[in-house]
């Protein structure tokens, strides 16, 4: 490792340092504010170091990491998401009983895991990142252990993630046994369509890796855990789960599939397309009449991950851009939606407000919150003015460019179904309130976060050109 390597790795190192610092400080002095501040500082520091790292990108640091523009882009995305979640969590926990300091520790660790994933170029770093992400998440999901639902969610997530990880690792082992390589470039070099056709163990290995990652992405049929865990986890953590965890894994899947010859195999494409179609349809159908908002968003996230399989199946430079933009938009929309639920629920002493009925008339009681939530839902539905629209447009372009008509058909049907349940929520919020509620506690930090997210949402929807340029710049050279 040279100094340049350290420079390139500096955002990651900053995160690591933040984990350690928070760990120490919590051990010495328990204070919610201090911990939050430290976490935020750590995240911001990591962000500030990104330009520095960008100077030396693209660069392969050890055998494990590849620091390129794409990785840095997603690092920023992940860290920003973590930042938003931290701020939201602060408002959510502040005033609750119990100790919440470790939450930030786990959050930072999890973020680090995701950050490792987006830059990994080796099965070892993949495993390391994934486990760092997951193990911290088990604890995060079940953090309010005195409540039954988070605990149940934690146990479920833990068991199922364990099983999925086992599949993933077994897949990696099979691939290794066949190819003898662990780093992606070497694997990619040997992993061709003909190799896949000729070696069933190799094909099975790839299938298992995809399955393991698909679990994290909650693609059908690996999606069953999603609603339960989303519902049980505290709202800010659900936001984290829905964005950071999925985004990082999606990037990994993209690198693994598009970087290698696996994408050239008809079997792989069929499998991807099939999973994508089924995910879009099943996810949206499951959400259709759902009355629990967190479950609803869980199902919607299944569908959205299904949408992302359109560019993944399409492949090519354009798909990489699409994934980047879509994920950025998806991060904003999902964080915003869960953020609204978080703020509406806070302080969440007596459980969260995630039943649809609790939102009746929200428009007239808390117009700002309802407005933000509406904007986020409309964005998820792909309506114009928001980033969701441009994202959907990207999907269409990627799909049409590759002539994936079946996938696009499912996308259209899925979107139409999606409209129904997103708009149903909006309608309920615009209904007549049942009773007058006590004036809510205003949570400044949370509201600032929501405001920032809304501005970003609209800005990316109305003038996406700068981000598109950035993405285009960063996604150069991702593919070999």
């Amino acid at each position: 490792m040279t100094a340049t390597d350290f420079l390139a790795l500096s955002p990651w190192l900053a995160l690591t340092a933040a984990v350690l610092v928070v760990l120490l400080v919590v051990a010495i002095h328990r204070d919610h504010r201090t911990t939050t501040a430290l976490a935020v500082i750590g995240l911001v520091a990591s962000l500030l170091l990104v330009p520095l790292a960008a100077g030396s990108a693209p660069r392969t640091v050890t055998a494990l990491f590849s620091i390129d523009g794409y990785a840095l882009f997603f690092l920023v995305l992940v860290v920003l998401a973590a930042l938003a979640v931290s701020v939201l969590a602060f408002g959510y926990c502040n005033g609750c009983e119990g100790r919440y300091e470790e939450l930030y520790l786990l959050l930072l660790a999890s973020t680090l895991g995701a950050a490792v994933l987006v830059a990994s170029r080796h099965f070892a770093s993949l495993l390391l990142g994934l486990e760092l992400l997951s193990v911290a998440l088990f604890a995060l999901v079940a953090y309010p252990v005195h409540q039954k639902r988070p605990l149940e969610a934690g146990v479920k997530y833990f068991i199922l993630a364990g099983v999925a990880t086992a599949f993933l690792i077994f897949g990696m082992a099979l691939v290794y046994a066949q190819l003898g390589a662990l780093d992606f470039p070497a694997v990619a070099a040997q992993l061709t369509a003909s190799a896949l056709a000729g070696q069933p163990y190799l094909a099975a290995g790839v299938a298992l890796i995809v399955a393991g990652l698909a679990f994290k992405l909650s693609l059908v049929p690996f999606h069953l855990w999603t609603p339960d865990v989303f519902e049980g986890a505290p709202a800010p953590i659900t936001a984290f789960l829905a964005t950071v965890s999925k985004g990082a894994v999606m990037v990994l899947l993209l690198r693994f599939l598009l970087g290698s010859g696996a994408h050239g195999s008809a079997n792989t494409l069929t499998a991807l397309a099939l999973v994508g179609i089924v995910s879009m349809l099943v996810g949206n159908l499951l959400a259709l009449m759902q009355r629990n908002l967190k479950r609803l968003l869980a199902y919607s996230s299944i569908a959205h991950m299904g949408y992302l399989l359109v560019p993944l199946t399409a492949g090519g430079e354009f798909a990489i851009e699409t994934v980047a933009y879509y994920l950025a938009a998806y991060f904003i929309m999902t964080l915003g939606a869960f953020g609204a639920i978080t703020i509406y629920s806070a302080p969440a002493n007596a459980g969260e407000l995630d039943d649809l009925e609790a939102y009746r008339g929200l428009f007239w009681q808390r117009p700002w919150l309802a407005g933000v939530f509406t904007a986020m839902l409309l964005a998820l539905a792909g309506m114009p003015l928001t980033a969701g629209f441009v994202a959907k447009f990207y999907l269409f372009t990627a799909g049409a460019d590759a002539r994936l008509w079946a996938l696009l058909g499912a996308l259209i049907i899925g979107s139409a179904l999606g409209l129904f349940y997103y708009l149903r929520v909006v309608v309920v919020m615009a209904g007549t309130p049942r009773q007058q509620e006590a004036p809510p506690k205003s949570i400044l930090a949370g509201n600032v976060t929501l405001a920032a997210l809304t501005i970003l949402l609209l800005a990316l929807g109305l003038y996406p050109a700068p981000l598109l340029d950035l993405i285009r710049h960063t996604s150069l050279g991702v593919l070999p």
Binding site: L127, F138, E152, G154, V155, I159, A173, Y176, Y201, R295
Partner: protein
Amino acid sequence: MAEIPLTHGLLLAVILFALGLLTVLARRNVVFILMGIEIMLNAAGLAFVLGGARWGAPDGQVLFILILAVAAAEVSVGLALVLQLHHRFGSVDVDAARQMRG
């Protein structure tokens, strides 16, 4: 010592993996499920070792050790959750925890 064909080893790993999976699917006790997961992870580890042996590289063994460490971390968090589960639900039966569905 006669070379054992890779396929035989991998088959063993697959069987081991299937056993672990069946444990997860069949047992209701969380602790057993945890053990099932461990078996599955170890089956993967075995496959790595086999791969390392085939290619004559240390990577496989290194990965196996990594898996062990990871599994340990996972299990530690898992056991903590099991404790809490027992505490809240008064049982280590996973099916007791199914409030959320639909």
